[in-house]
Subunit: 440 residues, 2 copies
Amino acid sequence: MEFLEGVKKKEIFAIRELEERKPFGEKVSLQGAVHSIRNMGEVEFVILRNREGLFQAVIEKEKGKWELKEGDFVTVRGLLREEARAPRGMELQVERVERISTPSEPMPFAVDKWNLELSLEAKLNMRPIALRNIKERAKFRIQEGIVRAFRDFLYGQGFTEIHTPKIGAKGAEGGANIFKLDYFHKPAVLAQSPQFYKQMMVGVFDRVFETGPVFRAEKHNTKRHLNEYTSLDFEMGYIDRFEDIMAMETGFLKHMTAFLEKEYENELKLLKVTLPKVDAIPMVPFEEAKRLVSEKYQRPMRNPYDLEPEEEHLIGRYFKEEYDSDFVFVTHYPSKKRPFYAMDDPADPKRTLSFDLLFKGLEVTTGGQRIHSYPELREKIKNRGMSEEGLEQYLDTFKHGMPPHGGLGIGLERLTMQLLDEENIRETTLFPRDLSRLTP
Amino acid sequence: MEFLEGVKKKEIFAIRELEERKPFGEKVSLQGAVHSIRNMGEVEFVILRNREGLFQAVIEKEKGKWELKEGDFVTVRGLLREEARAPRGMELQVERVERISTPSEPMPFAVDKWNLELSLEAKLNMRPIALRNIKERAKFRIQEGIVRAFRDFLYGQGFTEIHTPKIGAKGAEGGANIFKLDYFHKPAVLAQSPQFYKQMMVGVFDRVFETGPVFRAEKHNTKRHLNEYTSLDFEMGYIDRFEDIMAMETGFLKHMTAFLEKEYENELKLLKVTLPKVDAIPMVPFEEAKRLVSEKYQRPMRNPYDLEPEEEHLIGRYFKEEYDSDFVFVTHYPSKKRPFYAMDDPADPKRTLSFDLLFKGLEVTTGGQRIHSYPELREKIKNRGMSEEGLEQYLDTFKHGMPPHGGLGIGLERLTMQLLDEENIRETTLFPRDLSRLTP
């Protein structure tokens, strides 16, 4: 009988190992894709690409001729030598090449260009190839770092990770923006958010979070909307005030920037990202924010109940100019624009104990305190003229007791977009879904 | 202007702090739900429940009367004293109680019973309340640990985490087992797996993983099937042989057991879980596995192309009896039962370089090496009488070169179920979706 005992160390070097150990003069093997080839007559510079980045290999004609082409996947073996002119201060003098796979057709465009010269449409149509460009893929490494930081921080704060269903019965919260499907001849919908589930789980785990897809059938076609996105959600019980939720998010952002700086240094450098300051994030009530930007930028207020995109942009500008902050919490949104479960401000029931976080003038988070009292929750549902149908199990949870709680949802692709100063959310979405895009 | 600067330490103690510091004789505050109350006349024992577990508080009648009831959420303050008879060797002598929330109705059943005496149906119908039982919720803490271990291990092995879309255009792989929906008047489907995406991303990141929901419109109604579940998927490039994938999974299982032992000790104890041995996992070819159990247990082979549930069970039993292993990799499944992208065995094209991992006689993983050559992939599609329609972008990725690769998908709820020796997968699914269940 044969047995498996775990991962065996391959005789292949990681680039990081070479950079750390610098075994100049030794024979080493590397694996990668042929990213680009520069033929200089007597020598050929072959740039290899693997998950760690690029590495320069040199083939001297006299050593052998391997007829490599871009897109080949190879194992190369040779002498590692110090070379000040090479990007990492070293290069591999190739002595043996094993081609482990070869493409059927050349690249449809130059993936080895430093900046990929393609329209967004073209990039998205050929996403799996376009991402072989070093800078394009770095965006998604940083996105990975954001999610890791979110989970790491929350584990450390006593949160439990949950996995809630994405298919459900039609609930009362719904509206026109829900994708519908047939579930074994029963009507069903795709989850717009894990809202009800995470609240119900506060009664079990006190603090919970989820990182997963959410679905919005909104007919927006803008640079900042998607119809499917990754939501970073948390919900926490035993809060003393709704500011506790914003404090937790601030804590996450601090952890995130420190974590990215430490673990994703290469990608940050590659994309020339300047991490935002997050040591103190200002918070401003909704109405005051509207007034401040209306005064400073001589812009008349139109909609008293909501922030127009231009207003959000100006609020971002205001707090950058006045407080040098890329972030601002806008608090106390009008009750009529928030869902029924939002807790109204005892000092003014027309507004809620809720907030949005704006990052460089764009909303990246919506959150707030929720009603935890069963009678109050039913009262609010009644006052809104809503039905309790479809909410039975949600309401039952409150009937048997719930601590004061609140939470938030962060749009991962938006947060990434703002962090990287991208103009379109599709740049930071691996495979975007929008009104016109269902593939690849 | 007010600013948020991160999480402030509350003046509330964590149970762990009390157990570590043992500040006997000091005044401390704790928060929790009233899990149970035992009235002894002069004193009342109030068991508090919070995310960390249970803690005993004692109210002496002379100190005050607070009329607590089960399901209240409270902050209690008092003197911490050593008490050998209390579960943690200490208890809180209550001096002040602040009730922060109170239920409208008593619990519908005794959540404080050590073993919840409810049918599975009843538990699922009242999931958010049933999970307030200490043992019920511990299952999902362990499930969290499995997912954490999966990610931690793979980050350490150079994998990149990806987030792929769950809504897509109808692909060629499909069949009857796909949920369909209307996507802005275009036909769309829910992802059965991230298979094509993770393969395409191997060309970008070399090694990728995803932990997310998958959807199967299968009309099974068994103890081990769900229509939505969490899949732990990875895909790795530059493999030398398909055993590399199994070695990676073995590495994960080793990491998982060590991680659970270290970080989820309390929950393992609570549920009396014996972690499986994973130092060496046997592997056996499909046909040999069939022959072995047929001989040992005198069971005629019926279906030569697939394993019946009873056969899986017997294979599990065989390897437990003969090798004392809870796990066994069954390899080389017949080509006709595997998808088109599975790589056939060069030694016998009727079988594939694929495997299932059985854990205590149940399949918890399916994986294998994939075809990476563009001409071979097209050939296989053609030989199967399939169309390339809907596969254009998947195939284009191979056209431009892909390294040898393979991967697997682990059913999270199944793995949890087997680890905890549960009889029904719904026991280890937070909110199961099956043929008849769409709520809560």
